[in-house]
């Protein structure tokens, strides 16, 4: 299946290669570089590139291209999904997945890749199993290892690989038994210039951090499970129980994991917690344009809208912007024409605004593109869909765990206001 893997950085250097079958010359990447050159933006490189003898399937994460070399028919999503899993694993191990981190830990990276694939077919992708095989590097361990010459490779054999619950290690022990669940919802919306919603969806995830001794069996129930329109589970969740009772029943993996992602259907009316008042005009014949933007909170149930970040791609004709924010700071990049305004917290009494003028190319006619505004924000202690966890129970173990549930609402990557 997956023949080889090349890691390519932003400047087009191959800085790591790994072959699971016979060696494929790195010159195969030339086809990739060609495609990279053709693409105007880094993310426009096609994920699948056919070459005379191979197929290149790549993903772009953290400004690194992970280019897998395939020789014959394989579902492309299979490879893509696997590559993302590799990136997730690196992130899990090294905290970040950057070129420097990979180069510094090249041996661990190699050991990981070796365990994850056998002859190009995924073998162990469960992070719990991998961590038993190869311990993640920590500063302390690296130090100890250099002094004592001991290793990152686990001494004991990974029994998890053999068990029916491959996602959980055996013999887990904690002094403080705790289980935390974060319900995080993201709003994806497109709002037109008049302020009415064109489309709005809520995507939610429940991320868990479970540190419980032994083999606990948890059930999590919701007050209003019917809200969830579409769900996808971690493999530990018992599907039939959910189908029948809408209760999440599972033996959790040890540590951090994503229990559930869900979708609240767009049919329900989604209240966007932020509104935008804007007035951006370019006058014909003048080299000046006016820019006026005001933000305000809406239906937040008294919760503060925080970490607000506004960004907008201004038309190409704009040379510079001379703006005055009522709070926060703004930057404008005259090359990329990207305006970003770090607002911070919205104070409902004194709405933040950004006003000023834009200077346009002299003589050019009025730009006919209108910018869109993308907004990022966070609201703590609230799930915008109204989803509420009812209770969390544990079976199978005697002790009383500490349980915690946190809610948060965020703007998704795609929350945008159209200004035309």
């Amino acid at each position: 299946m997956i023949h080889s893997l090349f890691l390519v950085n932003a400047s087009g250097d191959i800085f790591l290669e790994k072959h699971w079958k016979s060696v494929v010359s790195r010159s195969v990447c030339d086809y990739f570089f060609e495609a990279q050159e053709r693409a105007t933006e880094p993310e426009n490189v096609p994920p699948v590139i056919p070459t005379p003898h191979h197929y290149l399937i790549s993903v772009l994460r953290h400004r690194i291209y992970f280019v897998a070399v395939i020789q014959s028919e394989v579902p492309p999503l299979f490879v893509i999904e696997f590559l993302h899993r590799v990136v997730d694993t690196f992130q899990d191990y090294f905290g970040v997945c950057t070129e420097a981190a990979i180069k510094d830990n090249v041996v661990v990276v190699y050991e990981l890749l070796e365990e994850m694939l056998d002859n190009g077919f995924p073998l162990a992708t469960e992070s719990n199993i991998l961590k038993e095989l190869i311990k993640p590097p920590t500063i302390l361990r690296t130090m100890v290892n250099t002094i004592t010459g001991s290793t990152n490779v686990g001494e004991q054999l990974p029994t998890g690989q053999l068990s029916v619950v491959p996602w959980r290690r055996t013999g887990v022990k904690y002094t403080n038994n705790e289980a935390y669940f974060d319900v995080v919802e993201e709003i994806d919306a497109i709002i037109d210039k008049s302020g009415s919603t064109i489309t709005a969806e809520i995507q939610g995830v429940i991320d868990a951090c479970v540190k419980l001794t032994g083999m606990p069996d948890l059930t999590l129930s919701f007050m209003n499970p019917r809200l969830l329109d579409d769900v996808s589970f971690h493999p530990c969740v018992r599907f039939k129980r959910w189908e029948a009772e809408r209760i999440l029943s599972f033996i959790p993996p040890d540590g951090n994991f994503r229990l559930l992602s869900y979708h609240v259907s767009s049919q329900n009316l989604v209240a966007i917690p932020v509104y935008v008042k804007h007035n951006i005009t370019f006058r014909e014949g003048s080299s000046q344009g006016r820019f006026d933007l005001t933000l305000g909170p809406k239906q937040t149930m008294g919760k503060a809208v925080e970490s607000v970040l506004v960004s907008s791609q201004l038309p190409r004709g704009v040379l510079n912007a001379n703006l005055n924010p009522s709070q926060g700071t703004y930057t404008f990049d005259p090359v990329t024409k990207l305006l970003s305004w770090d607002v911070g917290k919205i104070n409902p009494q004194k709405l933040p605004s950004l006003k000023g003028t834009m200077s346009l190319q002299a003589g050019a006619s009025k730009p006919d593109e209108n910018p869109t505004i993308n907004i990022q924000f966070k609201i703590q202690q609230m799930a915008i869909s109204g989803l509420k966890v009812n209770r969390l129970d544990m079976y199978g173990e005697k002790y009383k765990p500490f349980k915690g549930i946190k809610y948060m609402t965020k703007a998704g990557n795609l929350c945008q206001f159209r200004l035309h």
Partner: protein, 1117 residues
């Protein structure tokens, strides 16, 4: 800390320069040291006896490999460390080895023995890793070794090792395709494996080695369907894709009838010209189908196996793995009835939230699906709206989907959306949007005018690309119905005053020229204007002006003759030679002169030919002949190794091929009379509907917990739900189990009472007892780990399953009832329940074998084995105690070693005494009888010069000092035959002579009897399936049709002991080979009229085959 950071710094620093790092050994440092020298340093480190130095060296070598630097010259130094004790060093050496073995084949061979040793390790993980590395070394010489290792690992006890064996199969295949046939055998064997761990990997191997051997899947189809949900996610993808192909060959098209209905509903479809031919095709097909349907006069009924597949894959739409979701989606798209395909839409839309690469692939597939099944995605229209942050390739694909989804009702929203896209800053995207609008306009007649007007407005856009694209699209639209749109052409003619973009001007001129008869008044005027500005125009415009002039000259020469002349004259002296050429060419064509050739006659035809309207259709049309989700589909070209998705068969192939005769080898089945069996075969449907409902839990890897948790109420309802199920309900609930065990015991006792009294030793009883305890313990552990909640879940699902099957099973129930009535009354119900109970216990045992925590099993066998050996220690008393179970020793056969004549009076006979040879338990005792029929005494009888095959040993008999004439003497010698039938050659010496003699054992003598209980027997037999099992049908000799005779003959042929058995239709025997203590299990199941079936299970396949022959001979003669 400082040390580590220094090291890291150095690493980072050196890598940025692009130089390999040198470590912190100052001796080797220095930028100028040559490669050669640096490697010397690494070699030194590898040769040292400090693990830390070795590790350091290996890390640096691996870093070199990672960066693509050549490190092959270090091979000899590295390969030495393959047996290093340090795990990390070892692993890194493996990494190195796998990378370079191909280049240094000879040296790589040095490491092979290490792995061969690893293959025999008691730890399953070490065995697996040895096989993994061994099979990854791409050295052709070791192909036979790999083959052997794979075969052995394929019957390993540990499922993990078997999984590794499955992984190794494609490796070997790519190394040496000649091995295909043998590998297929292994695949076949592994396909029969019942654990989830193996399933994904073996299907992967199947797909790579022999995807065409679809027949191998039949027997495993249901099992795969049922296991699917528990298989790891990557395996799920492979299995689902394979099953899609399988289903296409085995089941009927579920939409065969619906296509008729579709025609009525698809009225809008016929509207598009492009679809017409397709429709015709479809109509034809439908007619055929109709005829077929009429002939059949029977509605389509889905094969229950087809339904099983759809039902078992559906939950996987909820998987977090996009590849799994896509696999299920394509399965539904290709296999499900139209009404059910809709379920996949939601899941696919969910994937659009994932990474952009995932979106890219999903959108491609959605685009294909929307062409065939538009309704499916219509509710999710808004999810395909484009955001300014999407990469261009995603935007274009979303546009494609939106265009495909457009219909009369939603077109206005879509067009409004498109309008905002046109203002985007991404020009490629704007161009694509304009194209999309054009396609919507062609597809939906109602909005054509709106679209046209919108596009015409775009002509005033300042962006050249937008205008050009609009003009091109307008041109296409107008070409479809030019007569209706003379006003648009007029409007465009007016635009020539304003529009400066040359491409657009050229397009307009072409349009006017093409349709000049629709605008007869305007056209000459346009030409006049153009003639005036000719010299200032761009080249493409000039060319079009010439074209326009030519066309007008041909249609309206009166008005335009002079203008044309003028234009052509201007063009004649143009700077551009293309234009000069064109002018000259056209002048020759249209202006008739004396010299003008034959072509001028055809000038009208040449210029005013009807140009075909361009077809605006989706590039995704007809892509669904590739299996969706595949690479080939994405590229719209067949990728290497792509397996075509076959068309539905006209008539369904025999569904009975998928019937699995549940554990044929397990003798319980053969117990039921042949009549019963025949009946079962006749009533197929109920048979598999049952297995469908129930085989799921029994066969899945964690079946134990399942079977344990199936609550009583669940199984109760099952039985009441359909009478059929009670017949062979295989589920045992935990609570029932104990009862059942007791009952079983009772039964046993009864039987024992009935039959001749079998003396029970206490130890036997206790061993059974012990076994059970262990079993129960392990079960408890299981159920502990599994939540209570599981029970509800299971019962829930089960009841729902039976519900869903109600409709299907109703008929079957009736049938069953009939057959039940037909059953001879002489068969009491009691017997049935007994059988059922038996099966339960049987399944329990079977479940027990692939138990998820395999540590339990060995403990168990070990325990019972030790008990057996304990028993054996008392073997003398044993045979006295239970004469019925141990072979009668009266049947010993004598063989001649030395004939009286060749021995000059001395004759020697020997027999295998079947007594344990006390000096060495691994030897077979050979009892010799010396007879001196000569007239003189023989002295110093002893043996000498023993010639043996390697591994064999002989314990000589003590020298017989004197054998007087006419006397006989006995002696016992021991021979370790190493479980082979090789002869032991030696010389028999007397004081005067030497005789060359040899002893060759019949295979039946290479074993010693052991005592097994029935349960142990069955369990062991369950572990010796597949290649370790040999089955032969035979007709019993007329004289040996009773149990006694059979026992007699078998025990004569082989040194085995009888296993007590509850049935008189079966005789079971057990033994172990003398040298290696491999189990030998023999079952003779008798049927009516002397038919019988002989089954031999033995780890040593050679012994098994030979033994079968011998016993066969013994029973048939």
């Amino acid at each position: 800390m400082s040390a580590s950071s220094a090291f890291n710094d150095e690493k980072g620093g050196s890598s940025s320069v692009g130089e390999p790092e040198y470590g912190h050994d100052p001796a080797s440092g220095g930028i100028f040291s040559s490669d050669y020298k640096r490697h010397d340093d690494l070699k030194e480190m590898l040769d040292s006896n400090k693990d830390s130095l070795k590790l350091e060296a290996m890390k640096r070598i691996v870093a070199m490999i990672a960066r693509g630097k050549n490190a092959s010259d270090l091979f000899p130094a590295v390969v030495k460390n393959v047996a290093c004790k340090n795990i990390e060093v070892k692993k890194l050496v493996y990494v190195y080895l796998v990378r370079y073995a191909e280049e240094q084949q000879d040296l790589a061979l040095l490491s092979i023995s290490t792995f061969q040793r690893g293959l025999k390790d008691p730890n399953q993980l070490i065995r697996a890793s040895a096989l993994r590395v061994l099979s990854s070394i791409r050295v052709t010489i070791i192909v036979p070794i790999m083959m052997l290792a794979i075969k052995e690992a394929a019957s390993d006890m540990s499922p993990y090792v078997r999984k590794t064996a499955a992984h190794a199969i494609p490796k070997l295949y790519s190394l040496d395709p000649e091995q295909k046939d043998q590998l297929i055998e292994v695949i076949e064997k592994l396909l029969a494996d019942k654990t989830t761990l193996v399933a994904g990997s073996v299907v992967m191997a199947f797909e790579e080695v022999c995807p065409e051997r679809i027949d191998l899947i039949h027997k495993n189809y249901r099992k795969l369907c049922n296991l699917l949900i528990d298989v790891e996610e990557w395996g799920q993808v492979v299995i689902i894709n394979m099953l899609t192909r399988y289903a296409r060959t085995q089941f009927l098209n579920p939409n065969i009838n619906e296509s008729l209905l579709e025609e009525g509903g698809g009225g809008e479809k016929t509207f598009y010209g492009s679809d017409e031919d397709e429709d015709e095709d479809e109509e034809e097909k439908e007619k055929k189908a109709e005829v077929a349907a009429m002939a059949k006069r029977k509605p389509y009924v889905m094969d229950p196996d087809h339904r099983l597949l759809l039902r078992n894959t559906k939950p996987l739409l909820q998987s977090r793995n996009a590849a799994v979701v896509m696999a299920v989606a394509q399965l539904y798209f290709h296999l499900a009835p139209k009404a059910e395909v809709g379920v996949i839409a939601k899941a696919l839309v969910r994937l659009l939230r994932s990474h952009s690469e995932v979106q890219y692939v999903v959108l491609q597939n959605v685009a294909t699906m929307t062409i065939k099944r538009r309704g499916m995605f219509e509710p999710y229209l808004k999810s395909f709206y484009i955001r300014s942050t999407d990469p261009t390739q995603i935007k274009v694909l979303k546009l494609e989907v939106l265009t495909n989804l457009a219909n009369e009702t939603n077109i206005s929203t879509i067009l409004r959306e498109f309008q905002t896209y046109i203002k985007s800053m991404d020009k490629d995207f704007v161009a694509a949007t304009i194209q999309a609008i054009g396609r919507c306009a062609t597809n939906i007649g109602e909005v054509r005018d709106t679209c046209l007007n919108g596009l015409v407005q775009l002509l005033s856009n300042r962006d050249e690309l937008v205008v050009a694209e609009s003009v091109v699209v307008i041109k296409k639209l107008l070409q479809m119905q030019p007569e209706k749109h003379s006003d648009i052409i007029k409007h465009m003619a007016k635009l020539t005053d304003n529009i400066q973009v040359p491409m657009a001007r050229a397009s307009i001129l072409w349009l006017i020229g093409e349709y000049c008869e629709h605008v007869p008044k305007i056209a000459p005027d346009v030409l006049r204007k153009m003639a005036k500005s000719f010299t200032n125009e761009e080249d493409i415009v000039k060319l079009q002006i010439i074209n326009l002039a030519a066309k007008l000259y041909l249609t309206n020469s009166k008005q335009t003759k002079l203008l044309t002349q003028y234009v052509l004259n201007l063009a004649k002296y143009d700077q551009n030679y293309d234009i000069r050429d064109r002018a000259r060419f056209i002048r020759q064509l249209i202006v008739p002169t004396e010299k003008s050739g034959a072509l001028s006659k055809y000038a009208k035809k040449l210029f005013l030919a009807l140009k075909p309207a361009p077809v605006l259709e989706s590039p995704f049309k007809d892509r669904d002949h590739f299996q969706l989700g595949s690479l080939s589909h994405l590229l719209n070209a067949k990728a290497g190794g792509y397996q075509e998705l076959p068309d539905w068969p006209e008539a369904a192939p025999d569904p009975s091929v998928r019937n699995v005769e549940v554990k044929e080898s397990v003798p319980e089945w053969t117990k039921c009379s042949s009549r019963e069996k025949r009946k079962e075969k006749k009533v197929e449907k109920p048979f598999y509907s049952d297995s469908e409902g129930e085989s799921g839990p029994t066969e899945s890897a964690d079946s134990e917990s399942d079977s344990a948790s199936g609550s009583e109420s669940g199984s109760g309802s099952e039985e009441s739900g359909s009478g059929s199920e009670s017949e062979e309900s295989e589920e045992g609930s935990e609570s029932e189990e104990e009862e059942e065990e007791e009952e079983e015991k009772d039964k046993k006792k009864k039987k024992k009472e009935l039959k001749k009294p079998v003396p029970e030793t206490e130890s036997e009883q206790s061993s059974e007892e012990e076994d059970r305890k262990i079993k129960r313990k392990s079960k408890q552990r299981k159920s502990d780990s599994e939540s209570e909640s599981d029970e509800d879940e299971e019962s829930e699902s089960e009841s729902s399953q039976s519900e869903s099957e109600d409709s299907e099973s109703e008929i079957e129930v009736k049938k069953k009832k009939k057959t039940a009535e037909m059953k001879p009354p002489s068969k009491p119900v009691k017997k049935e329940t007994k059988k059922e109970k038996k099966e339960m216990s049987l399944l329990d045992l079977d479940d027990f074998e692939p138990a998820p925590s395999p540590q339990v099993t060995p403990v168990n066998t070990f325990l019972s084995n030790s008990l057996v050996t304990d028993l054996e220690g008392l073997s003398l008393s044993d045979s006295v105690l239970s004469p019925a179970t141990i072979a009668p020793s009266s049947v010993l056969k004598n063989y001649e070693l030395l004939h009286r004549i060749t021995g000059e009076g001395l004759s020697v006979e020997y027999c295998f005494s079947r007594q344990p040879f006390s000096p060495d338990a691994n030897m077979v005792a050979v009892q010799m009888q010396f007879t001196n029929s000569a007239t003189s005494d023989t002295k110093n009888l002893h043996m000498e010069d023993v010639k043996l095959q390697s591994g064999m040993r002989v314990k000589e008999f003590p020298e017989i000092e004197l054998l007087s004439a006419g006397e006989t003497a006995m002696a016992v010698m021991g021979i370790d035959f190493c479980d082979s039938t090789q002869a032991a050659n030696f010389q028999l010496c007397t004081h005067t002579r030497k005789f060359f003699v040899s002893i060759q054992p019949p295979v039946g003598e290479l074993m010693r009897p052991i005592f097994l209980t029935e349960n142990e027997f069955k369990k062991e037999q369950g572990q010796l399936m597949g290649m370790n099992e040999i089955t032969e049908k035979l007709t019993l000799d007329a004289k040996c049709r009773n149990e006694h005779a059979i026992v007699q003959r078998v025990t004569t042929a082989a040194n085995l002991s009888r296993v007590p058995c509850g049935s008189d239709k079966e005789c079971r025997f057990a033994g172990r080979t003398v040298t290696s203590s491999s189990l030998v299990l023999v079952t003779v199941a008798t049927k009516e009229e002397g038919a019988a079936q002989l089954t031999v299970n033995c780890e040593k396949m050679v012994i098994g085959t030979m033994l079968v022959k011998d016993i066969l001979l013994a029973l048939t003669q």
